[in-house]
Amino acid sequence: MSKVMLEVNELTTKYVTRFGEDVYAVDHVSLKVEEGKSLGISGESGCGKSTLALSLMGYYFAPLHYTSGEIIIDGRNISGMDPDDIRRSILGTEISYIPQSAMNALNPTQKIIRFLEDVIRAHDPKVTKEEIYELARERFETLGLPAEVLQKYPVELSGGMKQRTVIAISVILCPKILIADEPSSALDVTSQKMVIKMLLDLMEKGFIKSMIFITHELPLLYNVTDDIMVMYAGQIVEKGTAREAVFDPLHPYSKGLMGSIIVPEIGLRDMKLTAIPGVPPNLKKPPAGCQFAERCKYVQPQCKVRAIDLRDIGGGRAYRCIFSEEQLREAYKNGG
């Protein structure tokens, strides 16, 4: 068994609204990422994917608050640490983050090399400019980016190039875990492929040890990550390997997500896209029972009464439903 890089136990974080209401955007989430593995997180907008990413980094600034649970990065518990301490000692070297909109992540008035100087000097103020330039040039060339980029301003780069530059900046200190939050959703398919190739290269060349990849595109997740976790309304509803989650989904919600996949392959046009009806629950007043009960095709009276536990069925697989595996598979076979 390889080393566990990131372990999260029953993490709960909440947003506090202006009116003092608590919104639990991440609700008792547990996960484990081993060295050399990647985990994909999927789910629709507003299900807590990005909040989970921020929580994992210890980025607790109002209105986001830490409630309970622990985050262990490579044997070191960071839960409850002061955000400023985390920024100094953990961000960049232990865990790093690629934001969704790289377009807005770079200050337009500064050259790319300045961002790298900022990152490196924040951790070690004594490094000289020449050393930083050497390191950056070498790293950029290994990752297939031209070294001229370093002397350019962000506006001179195209969208895909900007995103790849942001990735290169995020991993300059070789973090153990990289969290990529929809790194390719604003790009066209060709640039998306370049970004994905770069992320996989990073893993291969050992600049990062493990990766968490967040996106709503299941085909992409299937191709990039080893494991997939599906979230709904702040909770994990399904966990499994990529193949299992895509071809043999157990939870009705993941089954529904499968119905919205579009790939240019034979048979797509005969398939009817199925959207899940309804909207996610309002997390200010979460329902008493299963969060998905309102939209579920197979809803039972007892679903709405009590909360459903995550059922672990071994082999890293888990799902949150009252039905057994066989019952669910039978239902999907008959009802599509």
């Binding site: 629709e44 907008s45 507003g46 195209s158 969208g159 790009l187 066209d188 398919v189 060709t190 640039s191 998306q192 492929k193 370049m194 994905i196 190739k197 996989l200 709503h216 595109e217 299941l218 085909p219 992409l220 299937y222 191709n223 895509v246 529904g256 997500l257 119905g259 919205s260 996949i261 579009i262 790939v263 240019p264 392959e265 034979i266 797509l268 046009r269 896209l273 199925t274 959207a275 899940i276 009806p277």
Partner: protein, 270 residues
């Protein structure tokens, strides 16, 4: 191709050049096309290939450097504001970014009322207008009673895009130009939006011009696919033929760039 159907919109030698002299940039380069009535046409290409410029020219939002647009066989005339408005009752658009598509000071019922007024329903009794708006909202699975007093920013991206479709439902244009309508919303709402667009096509029989960079999406929705590279159409044809037997290298590359699940996704060809 549909023989018995008439040609709805066509272009002859359409060209758009930005800048002049050394900084000249040819965005769209002498494209010819015929879009038939009731057809779903996709224009596919990567960023910077001139898809959106072409769309803007068809809408009459920017001037055309060279060439002509023919609408229902006649030369399009948008020389005056009045004629332009008349043209816009026939062609409407859904844009990529729903967040920027609305006037932030207008409530949602104003947005929908404007559409009714544009169709000449200004003198209708208010009750009738509400009926029409309720019908449009229920078409896109929204409740008019909940929407009427909201501002656009209170909606989510998917809801905004659905409201856009409600507008189209009220306006009933001959042509709908959808410029990447699903690229900013998640996969689940995307399915809803696509289904609604298809239903609109079947109900009203309008032509949909669907612009996207995702060839999988184009394959799913369209009858005819045009592939655009550097301002030119490099390949055009029936969707099934095109995706399963692509002729041009560029088309093959676009197909290989989309992540797949039944086949291996080849990452080495970047």
């Amino acid at each position: 191709m549909a023989d018995e159907k008439g040609i709805c919109l066509s272009g002859k030698g359409l060209t758009k050049i930005f800048g002049y002299g050394r900084q000249k940039c040819v965005a769209v380069d002498h494209v010819d096309f015929d879009f038939y009535e009731g057809e779903v046409v996709s224009i596919v290409g990567e960023s910077g290939s001139g898809k959106t410029t072409l769309a803007k020219m068809l809408l009459g939002l920017i001037s055309i450097t060279e060439g002509e647009v023919y609408f229902q066989g006649k030369k399009r005339d948008i020389s005056t504001q009045k004629k332009k408005k008349e043209y816009w009752t026939n062609i409407q658009a859904i844009f990529q970014d729903p967040y920027c598509s609305y006037n932030i000071f207008n409530k949602i019922d104003t947005v929908l009322l404007d559409c009714i007024h544009m169709r000449g329903g200004k003198k209708l009794p208010y009750k009738k207008k509400v009926e029409l708006m309720t019908e449009a909202c229920s078409f896109v699975n929204m409740k008019f009673e909940e929407m009427t007093n909201k501002y656009p920013f209170e909606l989510s991206g998917g809801q905004m895009q659905r409201l856009m479709i409600a507008r189209i439902f009220l306006l009933k244009p001959k042509i709908l130009l959808a410029d990447e309508p699903t690229s900013m919303i998640d996969a689940c709402s995307r399915a809803t939006i696509l289904e609604m667009l298809m239903q609109l096509r079947n109900d009203i029989g309008m032509t949909i011009i669907f612009i996207t960079h995702d060839i999988g999406l184009a394959y799913y929705v369209s009858d005819t696919v045009y592939i655009m590279e550097h301002g030119k159409f490099v390949e055009c044809g029936c969707a099934d033929d095109m995706i399963l037997h692509p002729k041009e290298a560029y088309t093959r590359r676009l197909i290989s760039d989309v992540p797949k699940i039944y086949e291996e996704w080849d990452l080495s060809t970047v």
